[in-house]
Amino acid sequence: MAQDIFVIAEHLKGSLTEGTFEILGAARTLAGTTGGSVVGVVLGQGVEPLAGQMVAADRVLVANDAALADFTPEAYLAVLEPLIRQHQPRLTMLLNTSFGMDLAAALSERLSLPLVAYCKKLETENGAVVATSQIYGGKVNAECVLEGPGIVSVLTGSFPADAGRAGSAPAIETVPLPASLNGRKVQFKTLIEPEVGDVDITRSDIIVAVGRGIQSQDNIGTAEELAQALGGVVASSRPVTDAGWLPRSRQVGKSGMSVKPRLYLALGISGAPEHLEGMKDAGLIIAVNTDPNAPIFGVAHYGVVADLFDVTESLIEKL
């Protein structure tokens, strides 16, 4: 086993994602104690310029092929599996995103390497990697020890991206590709851009966000009334848009929008990691939830353990 740390890069529409820099920075810190190199891995077509941007890595392995131009789990795995088997890094880091979720668990099974998913903290201790994972909707943390080689899939927003942007030009190596990447069973067709909504929640300074606690579509009007009185807009967690109570464009979180308003008033939102990803950097977060153990209180500046309808009504009355 080498002591190297592999960082699997993510890119979309020609740019590395913020998360890629976050895990690069985390890898750099870990490598300081484990002693190996930080090795970036970029798959795609014409991605050498992106490899060059991974300055926190010592070297970057590049796989270039038309079949890798757009992400598909099948083609990516066909390249990554033999690459990791050959190099045997100490740790392979991915992001727990729509890309990384498809890759990490499959690589773990294919390579017989343990995986710690939903990882938000990484440390080393006497040569072991200690990974803390956030499970049960953010209600429980699990500290896991990887004595030998392993894989972690990291929640975005867990590490500062700046550390991943510091360094100098890495050495770039092109890796050989498996015999055929064509004729695969999963074919990328097209990217679908988000529908333009009636309001752009990313531009609002004041957001009243509702979660499953709002209970029904009929109650959305109350939230609208409060938002109007405050001069803001209504956004929501995923179950509310999945149910069709609000358009997709209002969803905050991992697959929805990231927002950074001056005020984020979270009503009946538990604070699952996938939701927090989209709002935890808001200037002032006030959460109302009947469950005192709701993880949203872990990121809120102010919390109210109460029925959201009582608080909403009183606020509307006083505004």
Partner: protein
């Protein structure tokens, strides 16, 4: 088209969670099992395909709690054609890892013919990763996760996969394949209690003996703990009116209102 929908029970997060005495897992006494919400979406998407193109839908789960029947009957009451459960000598105290589940499921699925296996994209307890990609690995078929729509077209399915910031990808997937379903195209339907009761009297759940539980890749949990959820929040107390006043004061102080 035959779709296998894999379902799983997870601890209901509405209950107060407690850690066991070794501090390495949840206390089994505080767990009340509920269906993984994403599995409900996987079933719904399969039922939509049944309605659209006459797909056969089989629902399958590992009966790790001894309490899976109700979920299987409910799935049948909603429209699944068949239900199967994997039974074995599961220790209540041991949480089956995702790797172990994937292997048990794969062994049960291999002898059953299928075009697609739909699996909930993730579950709240999958510390060692999501089951769907692992299951696909065992079955030797491709997998795509975070899927929000499945449309059959000329022998393949056109799927939508969510990325981030509202961006999605469209991909074509040739069966057989495993899909990790994030959300169905519509809210999961409800089954009337009377129908579930009737089905539970009439229908049979086929039992499949579990193979060996694979513990090779269980990640060692050194410590499981509840984060101080009050970590940051300062709590505002009082009657709703007082709370509203306090909130409005905060907004005024900060020049927000």
């Amino acid at each position: 088209m035959h779709i296998l929908v894999v379902i799983k029970q997870v601890p209901d997060l509405v209950e107060e969670l407690e850690i066991n005495s070794d501090g390495t897992a949840l206390d089994p006494d505080c767990i009340s099992p509920t269906l993984n919400e994403f599995d409900d979406h996987a079933l719904e998407e399969a039922l939509l395909l049944k309605e659209a193109v006459g797909a056969q839908v089989t629902v399958l789960g590992i009966d790790a709690t001894g309490e899976l029947d109700q979920a299987l009957y409910t799935a049948m009451a909603k429209g699944a054609d068949r239900a199967k459960k994997i039974v074995g000598d599961f220790d209540e105290e041991t949480h089956l890892s995702s790797h172990a589940r994937a292997r048990l499921l794969a062994e049960a699925i291999k002898p059953i013919g299928y075009d697609f296996v739909f699996v909930g994209v993730q579950a709240v307890d999958d510390l060692d990763g999501q089951v769907a990609p692992m299951l696909a690995t065992h079955l030797g078929v491709p997998h795509v996760g975070v899927v929000t729509a499945v449309h059959p077209i000329n022998g393949v399915v056109s799927i939508q996969k969510e990325y981030w910031a509202g961006i999605m990808a469209e991909m074509d997937v040739t069966p057989p394949a495993v899909l990790g379903i994030q959300a169905a195209r519509q809210s999961p339907r409800y089954a009337p209690v009377s129908k579930v009761r009737q089905i539970s009297k009439e229908a049979t759940i086929e039992e499949i003996e579990a193979g060996e539980v694979d513990e090779r890749l269980v990640v060692p949990v050194r410590r499981m703990y509840l984060p101080e959820s009050s970590g940051r929040a300062e709590f505002i107390e009082g009657e709703p009116g007082e709370v509203a006043d306090a909130i409005l004061n905060l907004l005024r102080e900060r020049g927000i209102k």
